[in-house]
């Protein structure tokens, strides 16, 4: 009898944790999905620093995520999609390390340097300092970083103000203020309460550039139409921030706060935090959300009906291009800025809400996009 009891205790604990582990999202398998066939067996591998990279000409590309994790339905996932495309099209060997806290950035990058990755892609502004330090210490290692230029001599997290240009780092930046401007214009045209809102994850340039673009888009609409649509959550210098990129709960609370103040369209620029706002919008109804980074109508299927559109930051294309450069020439390439003109940024389809958007507004949006593409319009 004791035996069964013991087994029951084990089974109970196990099942409890399985539920806990899988409970929060069924899309968890993104990282496990990666075909393991190409991977070398772990046991035989010595952790020597000089180990040769992939044999037989296959390029190896490795990603270090920020704390959002690879299943953030945002930029970490988008960068990984670029790697998966490289795996499919170029036969690249890809690998991934997720960071649990910002203390993980430096050792995660170092682990890939040791593995002999041909190019290491670090996702996000917050990895700027660690990437710069690693690039200086390993001048022969190719890096690419998203949302930062990692050009820093102090080894601290960087902003866009430049110190030193590191030859072995390709900076992948995006003029996301352009599509955010469009989103702001659209939101202003669609709002019935005359109030729209935006908030960020934390107050750093790659986040606030969206919010500023959005604000400017709304103001431009007001100028053109003589309306007075109000933006909550950002005034150009100060605004609402979740303080993190993880807590869905914070996203829910922020959305609730904005809704209480009368906003009916919300543009979260906070990675997974924004998913909390989508969940809230679905729960209460009558609130539209503008997705960020990827087409959230597609990536966040279970709340797709709340998305008016999404501001696209085509990180996957930039990452794929980087891996392609490395596989062809061994060099990651020159710094990159994604714009409407080169397809690095964009605005998603209206999908289910297309019927709600007046044709006149649609035409104006098309016109604005054309102006941005031609370089006749500035977002900030």
């Amino acid at each position: 009898m004791r035996k069964t009891k013991r087994f029951a205790a084990l089974a109970l604990t196990a099942s409890l944790f399985v539920v806990a582990a899988c409970g929060d999202d069924e899309e968890e398998s993104t990282s496990t999905e990666a075909p393991a066939a190409t991977e070398a067996p772990a046991a035989t591998e010595a952790p020597a620093a000089t180990e040769a990279p992939a044999e037989g000409g296959a390029v190896s590309a490795c990603e270090v995520t920020d704390v959002g994790g690879v299943d953030d339905k945002g930029f970490n996932q988008s960068a990984y999609a670029g790697l998966q495309q490289a795996e499919a099209d170029l036969g690249a060997e890809i690998n991934l390390l997720e960071s649990a806290s910002d203390a993980d950035y430096a050792p995660n990058i170092q682990a890939f340097v040791d593995e002999g990755c041909d190019v290491i892609i670090t996702v996000g502004f917050l990895l700027g300092g660690a990437t710069a330090a690693a690039a200086i210490a390993n001048p022969d290692q190719q890096f690419a970083i998203i949302d930062s230029d990692a050009n820093d001599d102090a080894g601290t997290p960087d902003d866009f103000a430049d110190d030193v240009n590191l030859e072995n780092v390709r900076a992948l930046n995006f003029a996301t203020d352009e599509p955010s401007f469009i989103a702001g214009y659209l939101a202003a045209g669609m709002s019935e309460t005359g109030k729209v809102a935006t908030y960020g994850g934390i107050n750093i340039p790659p986040v606030t550039i969206f919010m500023t673009g959005f604000l400017n888009g709304v103001n431009y609409y007001n100028e053109q139409k003589g309306t007075a649509v109000e933006v909550l959550g950002w005034d150009g210098t100060e605004g609402s921030f979740a303080g993190n990129f993880e807590s869905l709960d914070d996203g829910k609370k922020l959305a609730q706060g904005f809704a209480d103040e009368g906003a009916d369209i919300i543009f979260p620029v906070a990675g997974p935090v924004g998913l909390g706002s989508s969940a809230y919008a679905k729960e209460v109804g009558g609130i539209r959300i503008i997705g960020v980074d990827v087409d959230m109508y597609v990536s966040n299927d279970k709340e797709k009906e709340v998305y008016l559109t999404s501001v696209l930051k085509n990180i996957d294309a930039a990452v794929f291009d980087t891996v392609k450069n490395v596989s062809e020439s061994g060099d990651a390439g020159d710094d990159y800025v994604g714009t409407f003109a080169n397809g690095g940024v964009g605005i998603a389809d209206y999908h289910d809400q297309a019927g709600d958007v007046p044709d006149e507004l649609k035409a104006e949006i098309e016109e604005l996009i054309a102006m941005f593409t031609a370089g006749e319009m500035k977002a900030s």
Partner: protein
Amino acid sequence: MTAATVDGSPAAAPEQKPKLVAFFDRIDAYNNLLLPVLAIVSALIVGAFIIGLTDIDRLKEGDIGGILTTIKDAYVALPTGALGSLRGISETIVSATPLILAGLCFAVAARSGLFNIGATGQMFAGGMASVWVGFTMDGPGIVQVPLALLAGIVAGGLWGGIVGLLKARTGAHEVITTIMTNYIAGLLTLWLLKTEAFQQPGKDNPVSKTVSDKGRLPELFFWSDDPSLRAHWGFLVALAGAVFMWWLFERSKIGFELRTFGSNADAARYAGMKPATLTTLAMFIAGGLAGLGGATQIIGTQGYATESFAGSIGFDAIAVALLGRNKPVGIVFAAFLFGILEAGGRKMQLETDIPLDVVLVLRALIVLFIAAPALTRLIWRLKSEGSTSVLQFRGWGA
């Protein structure tokens, strides 16, 4: 902690028991050693199931062999990643260092009868004080480094001392006040990092000025010029902290009073000890240790402060202290185990398809099994002790 849990209970009824247990019964450190080991083994077994069950693709294909290989790879990667190379060892030490100090912080308070979950806030206080010393001074190192560490101890100690004083004077429960002081310290740090006095010039995000080179703790592996060996003398500082705690509770008069007060406040009062002073002092010492942990993190590992430099260390430290049974040696070993899980977890992610979340679940499982000794005993059919309580805290308002 009482004497009963330390010595085990040799006079147990001679009921029928498995040979293995009978063998361990004879070992003196039975309770202190066997339970944590069995907890870890249990966690690894349950962890193996979780690794298998979350490997949905292989599960669908019924590829049991592949799943077993993944589990084997994962459990091989864990120790080799953490201990298989000098860099692995270095990373293990880097992770363990602040955990030792924060774990000592929890243990000092716990053995004085206080449930201090404010290590995070105390680390923030200590770290910010030490970073200020770090970037305002410019050597010589022999003065600046000890001064920065001292600043960390004092700031962390004061931050903890406030909680002790509140408890002593007003009876405010330390669980609530430490949670609140954690928030205050975290937000205060964020605000400070945005002020001109602290913020790195030319930056928009909250990051402090960099600690001058002379003010950094020297590298532990000084003979190697590999910059990626990040371990620093903070580790020695942490070990010194452990020795200090041993001395405090085993050799000093104050420690004796704290311990007495911790196990029976009424008896201590009756014996003429001053509860108010002891509570404040215990929290000051605890906070000082955590503050020292924050300081080593700043002038050792990072070199600058961000708004999240304390991370989850303050809370992991509670598990470390429980796992180490609130003894200095136990805490050092427990912190090492956590360091191994962290450094090895990286290798585990690298070598297998296991997502980070599962690595974190594995760590949580170990803590769970350790925190629930009854469960571990049930699984391994160990006899139960007379007193199973690892910690004794006084109730609300006591």
